[in-house]
Symmetry: C2
DNA sequence: AAGTCTAATGACAACGTGAGACATTTTTGA
DNA sequence: TCAAAAATGTCTCACGTTGTCATTAGACTT
């Protein structure tokens, strides 16, 4: 972009002084409307674009908010985190600078350096899964999104996994189901504990003891996650009280469960209800019967994080839980 | 970031001139080793980060490559486009500036403005689906990724949909299938025509006339896409020669087909083979039986686009087709 | 020891913007 | 017609970095 126009060029072309051009750009009321019109005419004709680098220099303020997205490439759910943040940033005249990284590689440090070099005013650290952030952020002003840190006082936005589980179970009980069983995430996943507690607490509220009606359907072994939906379903059907609905901790687990149920000779939505967490496009809408899920509030979380980063919403409590909502379809 | 150190601060602290600090930073061999050591000592102590804005000003060169991603939020497949581009950019010392937009909103123009203001050296325009770009890019130097334009001479990276179809059918025939049927995308999707041609041509190569053994499984009506997998399967089973394998134009269509096949009382991989296009995580791996697909070469396409944008690979032919590869699993 | 050469270091300018201080011109109103 | 007010212009500086050129320190020659 060597041939970019400067205010000086505009001034010459419009037959006014550099200062007048500057006044027009910065909405100085001292400019006569006709002069303003003439200058703006030239802006359009010559295609002037202000030089952000010079602006940053001059203002000692970058208007840049960094967004470090860890592992977003692995899942599409968290893209809504980005969309939410982006929308807020633009509406505030801020520039969001986005980095997709994979934790464990040097990506992260590199992204942080880049942002520091652009003098980003704040940095949002986002993860795909709700989890603990091991190495804390270096930026002076940061916001944690979908993750949290050992060190306190960093503003943090988290999904209300506990509340989400209760919300889902309220719907389940409202439809008359009384023998739920919960196919949970593996216990190393920190949403697992929260959801289990919400599931059990909401059960107690309805006079049920669900403490033994929840088991992980994903296990972590040799550094990898394996799903054991088939085995788990077999176990659950052979022992104890047969469930009337199965809750899955992820849509994709629900998909596997659909196959497992069919393989066992049953029909989803008839012999068992199925419910799940995530509402991760496009799976729930395309399953038959369509899957009823609770939606993780990623878009709203992204918005909230950017608002914190930009200092719109005041400090708030350090950890902010964002509620989700129920998406009712056909599976229960 | 008000309290950022500058080279001037470092110079004062180290008792040398501003220029010497600059020399140390730019690996100028003219600096005496002891001086260099002293200055670097101060760097570490004071935590210097160069100011990119000033660099851009001074150099009149931004090292920034823009990436405008249209609709990435709608699908996770194209994230690999971004990963590929990002990896190349970093390895070249370039800074990729990423924008997620939705065509039809003002997002696009805004992103282009932002990039012009940052004096981006080139802009990559990427779309989720292989399609025609209606309003052409404004940037002087641009690359089209997964889309193409009416105006010629813009370097363009496209998936080789035709070749992908032939590749897939070669595998199908190699496994002995002789009565394929192709559940294609809707005809408004420009991959549909290419894949159909590849499908038919590869069939002819094996002595089969497949011109009438392909139909759209997705229809476009009232501005929306609907899948008609169930209806189509019923039709195909009731008329003409019963297929021994069904090819789906998307993994998610294949998922629907699994259900439709089960509903019709058949077993996937036994009564019919199923094959598909995309290899879009996590669906193919989690279906039972696991789905064999051809993978769209998104990562490589992203790399190729960034290489073009950075001027690494010479001009090439204007349109560059990137081949995909076959991912064999269990479904045929 | 004086002179010469080179290695090392320093001073300065410029990039584009925006603002302050102030001068000059134009317009408005009595 | 003149004074006041409004509009525009001139000039200067600062932001942080790095290329050009000038200067100094040290080493080497005679």
């Amino acid at each position: 972009m060597v041939f970019m126009k400067t205010q000086r060029d505009i001034a010459k072309a419009a037959g006014v002084s550099l200062k007048t051009v500057s006044r027009v750009l910065n909405d100085d009321p001292l400019v006569r409307p006709e002069t303003r019109a003439r200058v703006e005419q030239v802006f359009r004709k010559m295609g002037y674009q202000p030089n952000v680098a010079a602006k940053i220099m001059r203002a000692k303020k970058s208007n840049i908010i960094g967004f470090i997205a860890d592992g977003v490439a692995m899942s599409n759910s968290s893209i809504d985190l980005i969309r939410g943040a982006q929308d807020v940033a633009w509406s505030l005249g801020k520039q969001m600078m986005l980095f997709n990284i994979l934790a464990g590689r040097e990506d992260g440090a590199r992204a942080e350096d880049q942002l520091a070099q652009f003098r980003a005013e704040a940095v949002i650290y986002a993860t795909v899964y709700h989890r603990l952030l091991t190495n804390p952020p270096r930026a002076e002003r940061s916001v944690l999104l979908n993750c949290f840190s050992a060190q306190p006082n960093i503003p943090t936005i988290l999904p209300d996994d506990y509340g989400l589980a209760r919300l889902l179970m309220r719907e389940v009980f409202a439809k008359g189901y009384r023998r739920p069983f919960f196919f949970n995430l593996s216990e190393d996943h920190c949403a697992a504990g929260l959801r289990r507690r919400g599931y059990i607490d909401e059960g107690r509220e309805h006079g049920l003891d669900l403490a033994h009606r929840v088991r992980p359907a994903v296990i972590f072994r040799d550094g990898r996650h394996f799903t054991i939906v088939d085995d788990l379903l077999r176990d659950v059907l052979s022992e104890g009280e047969k469930p009337d609905i199965i809750i899955c901790a992820q849509d994709i687990l629900a998909m596997e469960l659909y196959f497992a149920i069919a393989a066992a000779g049953f029909i989803v939505g008839q012999d068992f209800g199925v419910a799940s967490f995530d509402n991760q496009d496009p799976v729930p809408e395309r399953l038959r019967p369509k899957l009823s899920t609770v939606q993780l509030p990623y878009y709203e979380m992204g918005r909230a994080a950017m608002e914190l980063a930009c200092g719109v919403s005041p400090a708030q409590p350090t950890v902010q839980l964002v509620p989700g909502r129920f998406i009712g379809r056909e599976s229960f």
